[in-house]
Amino acid sequence: MSQAERIITLKDFSFDYEEKEIKALNNIDLQVEKGEFVGITGPTGAGKSTLVNCINGVIPHFINGSYEGEVFVAGRCVKDSASQEMSRIIGTVFQDPEAQIISANVEEELAFGPENLGLDPKEIMERIEFSLQAVGIGHLRAATVSSLSGGQKQRVAIAGVLTMLPEIIILDEPTAELDPMGTDDVFKVLRELNQKHGITVIIIEHKLEHLARNCSRLLVLKDGRIQLDGKPSAVFTDQEKMKELGLRPPQVTELIGRLVAAGKGRGCAELPVTLEEAKIYLDRVLTDEKSRGELLG
């Protein structure tokens, strides 16, 4: 990974909150390349939110504690940059849709960020057009926030962050309060933003099925450390470690894992982690079995 491509670097980084004794983050070494879609998961209290808060600067600017090591984002040292400066590079979307939408109507909300940056109205308008289109909420432009569903609110929040034209978007359990349709909508938007616009996405979630489908890289945290780090297929294939961490892989992976463990699966280095992959795998296993039967029959 060349220096130029690395967009987030944490080196020997540790942090704990002011009154707590256990380290919230313990000797983290992490590098993220531009354009990755990184999923972060792990049990409660593992340090996931703490980690992303250290990346976007909320720690140390809003939250105090003992801060050791270095965090660099797009070449800037996070500790030494004002959080408003960081806002040009990183946008964050939080869990509670209500507590991050500032305005009463959508267009106003999208204008908020660029207005803060002091851009001229023509450029602000262009950015709003871009965000509405990229997130697929053009039809909501004139809507009042109170008339929106949870999923729509979260998409507005993403659009609001997008008007800052960030290189990185961080999301902390954005679909926790949404229904399945809302969740799908959010992930669809993120996939678009990542693939079409090259935005680096970092998302904390518990919904492993969605992470398996969308992320190019998965980090599993526990006890303030990164326990697993790799492609979803690599991570979920390590079934022992998953069990140790108290995580259950997507159902399809678990199923095929059991077949392989009983010696009945086809050989493969990594287990399928999405429905599509599992379908291909099992269709073949079952046709093999069928054709063996026919051969002998």
Binding site: T44, E209, G246, L247, R248, R258, K279
Partner: protein
């Protein structure tokens, strides 16, 4: 499992309609019977009417038309305070409830409202805290606990009311897999001890694993009602209501092999099935 025709109905909802100020009814002449010791999952997209329906059961909402009977009694004239004794409702956000500075006082608030003696309140508080595994935090301030712990405090404060019927609104949202499993195991225990459980959730894998009965709602009506194996494999129906069937169910249905049953709802079931199919014995059976 006893046939439901032999069990007495505990809750009867008859033609319940609720409209608020909207043109479209949020509940449209809903009929539902809940039996004693049911373990019922109520599913449906946001706005389908799930929460509105259950809020009628403890009097938080009163029907525009229709009747609700609990234990054969029409609850129209019974106040919310009295109904709270029979129907416990655990809300999704614990911070909407917590207001005292000690966990045990918080849990004792409900029993106090029911007019119980201090000794009885203390006893129930201790039982409730021990059920949720928070006995060691009895004298802590609930405001400083983690979100998951606060959720347990909220649960304990409803358990302390010892109501026969328990309604839980999204009990596992925002929790990790381990915490979710612990809460569900607790609810299973409560059901074994005789409580009737109604829980609302979006997590259909959870429903497949724990619920004994699933009621699917959409646009103010009940669209399906039956055991998980009957309701969850109806992927088309679920998709119409913007729900997604468990991944394992979708996989079973999308595989080309026609011999596979289409109502698989758990990994264990599917694994067993496939292993038997792929085993030498089965292979020989096919040949011979």
């Amino acid at each position: 499992m006893t046939s439901k025709y032999r069990r007495p109905p505990l809750i009867q909802v008859e033609r319940l309609t609720q409209r608020y100020q909207n043109a479209e009814p949020i509940l449209d002449a809903v009929d539902l019977t809940v039996y004693k010791r049911d373990f019922l999952a109520l599913i449906g997209q946001n706005g389908a009417g799930k929460t509105t329906l259950v809020k009628h059961l403890n009097g938080l909402l009163r029907p525009e038309s229709g009747r609700i009977y609990i234990d054969g009694e029409d609850i129209a004239e019974i106040s919310t305070g009295v109904l709270a004794q029979r129907v416990g409702y655990v809300f999704q956000n614990p911070d909407h409830q917590i207001f005292l500075d000690r966990v045990d006082k918080e849990v004792g608030f409900g029993p106090n409202n029911l007019g119980l003696s201090p000794e009885e309140t203390k006893r129930r508080t201790e039982n409730a805290l021990s059920s949720v595994g928070l006995s060691h935090l009895a004298d802590s301030s609930p405001h400083f606990l983690s979100k998951g712990q606060r959720q347990r405090v909220a649960l304990a404060s409803v358990l302390a009311m010892q109501s026969q019927i328990l309604i839980l609104d999204e009990p596992t949202t925002g929790q990790d897999a381990q915490e979710a499993a612990e809460i569900m195991e607790l609810i299973v225990e409560l059901n074994k001890h005789g409580h009737t459980i109604i829980f609302i959730t979006h997590d259909l894998q959870l429903v497949a694993k724990y619920a004994k009965r699933v009621v699917l709602m959409g646009k103010g009506k009940i669209l399906a009602d039956g055991p998980p194996k009957e309701v969850l494999p109806q992927t088309d129906l679920l998709r119409k209501t913007n729900l997604v069937a468990p991944q394992i169910t979708r996989l079973a249905q999308e595989l080309a092999d026609e011999r596979l049953p289409k109502d698989i709802i758990s990994v264990e079931e599917f694994a067993d099935l496939l292993l038997r199919r792929l085993s030498p014995e089965a292979f020989l059976e096919d040949v011979i």
